[in-house]
């Protein structure tokens, strides 16, 4: 197991937003986290990332418990984070946005698999043409690519992507979906939150479904397909 989360409990003030959450991601896997609004999907990612401090539970990454680490330490063990709303740096040009993602500021020349700006551009050709532009001047789709590219610059083994297709025009949804698959092919594991069921089901190897603050279902796409009542209860509206 690359990542194994167990009994994770997180509170916002007094409300218990994650209750004994558990999930795992294997090397090379593409795992989707599904559920309705307000069920705690984003909070799960944030709790793993250390952006929200979980009250109890373990987050084991490559055999090491990283629960309660500050975000930068979580990033340094090899987890990349692509947040909701992308959160690119609006006043920095595209190149600098990417450069910030480089761990320690230097690209590891000894590692042939290390991500470079050129390699990111190969995956996201649209960004190359905009490399001198400020982040705030990019379209929604370009910002999404930049945000993913930025996290890849740190050579993560796992990236966590929160709502990659939200608010994107339909033709871009497919494009971003394909890019995620593409990146997964290069060996990066992906844990993503998605509410477009079509995207999630076509992309994921395995699914987690969140009910109110806790896990409701886990299994493969086929298994979920075989259980229409679960789908209806937790996903369809």
């Amino acid at each position: 197991m690359l990542l194994e989360v167990k009994d994770l409990n997180t509170y916002y003030g007094e409300s218990h937003v994650l209750q004994d959450m558990a999930l795992s991601v294997d090397e090379g896997e593409l795992v989707a986290l599904l559920g309705r609004n307000g069920m705690g999907k984003s909070t799960t990612l944030k709790s793993i990332m250390g952006l929200v401090k979980p009250k109890s539970g373990t987050v084991v990454y490559k055999g090491k418990d990283i629960a309660g680490y500050p975000p930068y330490k979580v990033a340094r063990v090899g987890i990349g984070y692509v947040p909701e709303e992308r959160r690119i740096f609006p006043n920095l040009p595209v190149l600098d946005n990417l450069a910030i993602g480089i761990k320690g500021g230097k690209i590891d020349k000894g590692n042939p698999d290390a991500w470079t700006v050129d390699r990111v551009f190969k995956h996201f050709p649209a960004l190359k043409a905009r490399s001198g532009q400020k982040g705030s001047h990019l379209s929604g789709g370009e910002q999404q690519m930049l945000s993913i590219g930025r996290s890849l610059m740190g050579n993560p083994e796992l990236i966590m992507v929160d709502e990659p297709t939200e608010g994107l025009a339909p033709f871009l949804v497919k494009e971003v979906r394909d890019m995620l698959e593409d990146i997964n092919q290069t060996g990066v594991s992906i844990l993503f939150v998605e509410h477009n069921l079509k995207v999630a089901m076509s992309l994921a190897h395995r699914l987690y479904l969140m009910g109110n603050a806790c896990l409701a279902f886990t299994g493969t796409v086929e298994e979920l397909d075989a259980q229409p009542e679960i789908r209806a209860k937790y996903l369809e509206v």
């Binding site: 990332m49 952006l51 500050p70 975000p71 930068y72 979580v74 990033a75 340094r76 984070y81 947040p83 959160r87 740096f89 609006p90 006043n91 920095l92 600098d96 946005n97 450069a99 910030i100 993602g101 761990k103 500021g105 930025r150 996290s151 740190g154």
Partner: protein
Amino acid sequence: MSPTTAMYVAQAIHGLAYGMLLFLVASGLTIIFGMMGILNLAHASFFMLSGYFCYTIITLTGDFWLALLIAPVGAGICGLLVERFLLRKVHVQGHLAELLLTVGLMLVILEVVKAGWGTESMMIKMPNGLDGLISVANMTYPVYRLFVIGLSLVVLGIMALILYKTRLGMIVRAAVSDADMVSALGINTPLVFMVVFGFGTWLAGVAGVVAAPLLTVFPGMADQIGMDAFVVVVVGGFGSLIGAFVVALFLGELNAYGIQFIPRLAPVLMFAFMAIVLAFKPMGFFGERE
């Protein structure tokens, strides 16, 4: 050149020198606010503290240049410690707690200074060679004020280099808009915060030493510049260096000419200016966020 013109020019240089000093103080304040959301009310206290360090160093060694080198570093170290051991601890409680903590700090520093150095005004002699007047094109300029302008420009240049040409600067600019995201990319933001806080107080310290011979060193020496620096940050826009620069120079001139022509209303002018700007642009001229 007519005497009137000469007077105008002299005032302009006065204003420029003060504006530059103001910028040194305000730049640290605005970066700290932009990155950490902390309105550091104790910022000007470090300015004053550095002035006292300068006094002590000069008393011990007689060397102004040594004081210029060491005193700001001393203030900067105090800043580092404050960030590391006080502000970081209350960060989770939100900005009000941080603000109040800096108020407490301001009171404590002031009282410590009074206890340590007394409440008397203490003169700092201008360094040799800078205390005279220089005459160019039929006009005389006070050398020290030109030196203040020059030194500030140098510091400004170094700051711009760091901010726009180094990775640290890039990180700082990114963190001003979204510090959490920077952290999620693997950058030790608590360390960056500490360094920036230290750097900001160092800048205030430099201003403190440079201002010491002009203002003399006394417990109230930071009052005006501290207040002015807040106006600069607010009017220029929270977190905006360019805004701080423009407004600092403007306020410097406003101050200089105001004192010349309407001595009683000069400070009022400044606050009125701020009120008007805020009435129309609550974020300040160059500010982007609350």
